[in-house]
Symmetry: C2
Subunit: 276 residues, 2 copies
C-alpha cells in the first residue's frame, strides 16, 4: 500500500482516503463521493479492527459484506481497496499505542474502555500506509472525528481530516452497519434518538440555554420508546468535547442508546440562541 | 520543516536525520558523519524536550550550548538545523501520547516515569516534520534505540532507524552531555561503569552463563568506586529487552549509576559463549 501511495505522490497525485470497517452503506458512499470529488486517487480501507472493540461479541457479529463492499467501491470510483489482515497489522511483539487524552474519556470513551486507543492507533497505521492528503470521516461518529482531528494536529501528520454530515433513513435513523442487528420492532423504535435530539434542538432554537433542561427533554422523548435505555446523553463543546452547563458556545448533543442488545449512537449540533 | 522536506523528497533527495537535545559532543558528531555519508540532505533537530524529563531539576540544568552546536553542525555538513519551540510542539490543547508497551517498563523506564512516552511522542512528531528516510541514534541510549525501532515497526513509519556504537573517552567513559555535571573526582570514578561492564563481558567470554554471577561481578567493580550507587544493572535480551536468567541468546548488559547528583548510563553487548 505504501509503495503504491509513494508512487502516486511521486506523480503529483492527491490521495483521498476513506477508512472503513466494511459493511458499506449509503453513509460510507457519501464519504466516497465527497473524497472522489476532492482527490486524484481514492483509497478505501476495509479492516474490522480488533483493537477498537471492547466487547468480543460485538466484534464477532460485526457485519461482513465483502462482495457487495467491493461492488460499491467499484461503482463509486475507488482506485484502491486496502484490506490488511489483522496478523499483518498486529504481528507478534506489537506493543505501541497512540492515545488522545481527556477528549477520549467522556461520551463513548466512558463506556468502551480502550476503544479510542484502538481507533487512533489503527488510523495512524492506516495513514502511514496510505499517506493520504485528505481523509474523510462521517459525523455520525462525532467523538471519533474530533479525536482523530486532535491526533492529526498533535502529531503533525499533515493530513486534512474532513467530517461529513450523517446520512439518515427517511425517518431520521442514522445509517449504521449495526442497524442490521435491529429486529423489526426495534427498527421502528430506533427513531427515538433522532426525535430526541431534534426536540433539544427546537428548545435551544426557542431560547432554552440550560443544558439540564435540554437533556431532560431529549431523554423523555428517547425513553418514551419501548425498551430504549440511554447509556449517555450529553451536551459538549463542539471541538474540545468538554461538558457544557449552559448553551453559550457551539455545542453538540451526543447520545448512545441501547435497543435490546444493539447499541446505537447519534448526535446533533446545537446552536446557542442569539443574544436577545 | 515539513515543506522543506516535502520539496527535497520531490527532488528525489534521501533525507537523513539526527535528533538531538543539543549540547553536541563527539558522540553526536559520529552520528552526523554516519548520516552524512548515507543521505543527500542531512537534518539535525535541537530540542530539549520537556515531555521526556521526569525531574524538573534535570530539565533545568540540562546543558545548552547553542552557538557551539551550530558551529559543529556547520562543520559536519548539516543542511538544516530544526529547532522548534516547546510552545509550538505542545500548544494549548495538546493531548496525544505515543506509548510503547512492555519494552519501556524495565531498565530506565522503571526509574523515569513517563520518560519513554515523552521520547516516542516527540520522535514521532519530529519524524512527521522531517520526513526522514534514515534516522540515526546512539547506542549509549540502548533502550531508547530499541523502543524507537519498535515504534517505527509497529506504526509502519517507513523510516530506517540505525543505531551507532557509543563513543567513549580514552578511559572508557561513554560520552554524554550530562558528563559536564561531574566534579573532577566524580569524573575519575565515572569509569566504573565501563570497567564493570567489561568485567562481565570477560566473564561471559570465558564461559560464564549465569546472569546472576555476571551481574554480581559487574556490580562489585562499579560499587568499588567511591560514592557510586547502582540504580539498576541488568542483562536483557538484545531486541525485546526481556530480562535473562541464562546467557543463551544475544544480550545486553545495561546499567544506570548515580555519582553524587549525576546519573550516568551505559551498556555493552554480551555474547553467549559458544557451545563447548
Amino acid at each position: 500500500m505504501r509503495e503504491d501511495s509513494l508512487a502516486a505522490r511521486g506523480r503529483g497525485r492527491r490521495i483521498g482516503f476513506v477508512p472503513t470497517m466494511g459493511a458499506l452503506h449509503a453513509g460510507h458512499l457519501a464519504l466516497l463521493d465527497y473524497a472522489r470529488a476532492h482527490c486524484d486517487r481514492l483509497v478505501v480501507s476495509i479492516f474490522v479492527n480488533p483493537l477498537q472493540f471492547d466487547r468480543k461479541d460485538d466484534l464477532e457479529r460485526y457485519p461482513r459484506t465483502w462482495e457487495s463492499d467491493l461492488a460499491a467501491c467499484a461503482g463509486h470510483g475507488v482506485d484502491v481497496v486496502y484490506y490488511p489482515r489483522a496478523e499483518a497489522m498486529y504481528p507478534p511483539g506489537f506493543q505501541t499505542t497512540v492515545s488522545v487524552g481527556p477528549m477520549t474519556q467522556g461520551l463513548c470513551g466512558a463506556f468502551r474502555p480502550g476503544h479510542f486507543d484502538g481507533v487512533t492507533t489503527v488510523v495512524l497505521k492506516l495513514f502511514n500506509a496510505v499517506l493520504p492528503h485528505l481523509a474523510v470521516f462521517g459525523e455520525k461518529d462525532y467523538q471519533q472525528l474530533k479525536v482523530i482531528q486532535r491526533m492529526v494536529r498533535d502529531l503533525d501528520l499533515g493530513v486534512e481530516v474532513v467530517g461529513r454530515p450523517t446520512v439518515r433513513e427517511d425517518d431520521g435513523l442514522a445509517l449504521s452497519s449495526r442497524n442490521l442487528h435491529l429486529s423489526a420492532p426495534e427498527r421502528r423504535r430506533a427513531t427515538c434518538l433522532w426525535r430526541g435530539l431534534n426536540r433539544a434542538r427546537e428548545l435551544a432554537a426557542s431560547g432554552e440555554r440550560e443544558v439540564a433542561r435540554l437533556v431532560a427533554a431529549a431523554q423523555e422523548v428517547i425513553e418514551s420508546a419501548e425498551g430504549a435505555r440511554v447509556e449517555y446523553l450529553e451536551v459538549v463543546e463542539a471541538e474540545t468535547l468538554e461538558p457544557l452547563v449552559h448553551l453559550d458556545r457551539p455545542a453538540r448533543m451526543c447520545t448512545a442508546v441501547w435497543l435490546g442488545s444493539t447499541r446505537l449512537i447519534d448526535n446533533l449540533a446545537l446552536e446557542p440562541p442569539a443574544e436577545g
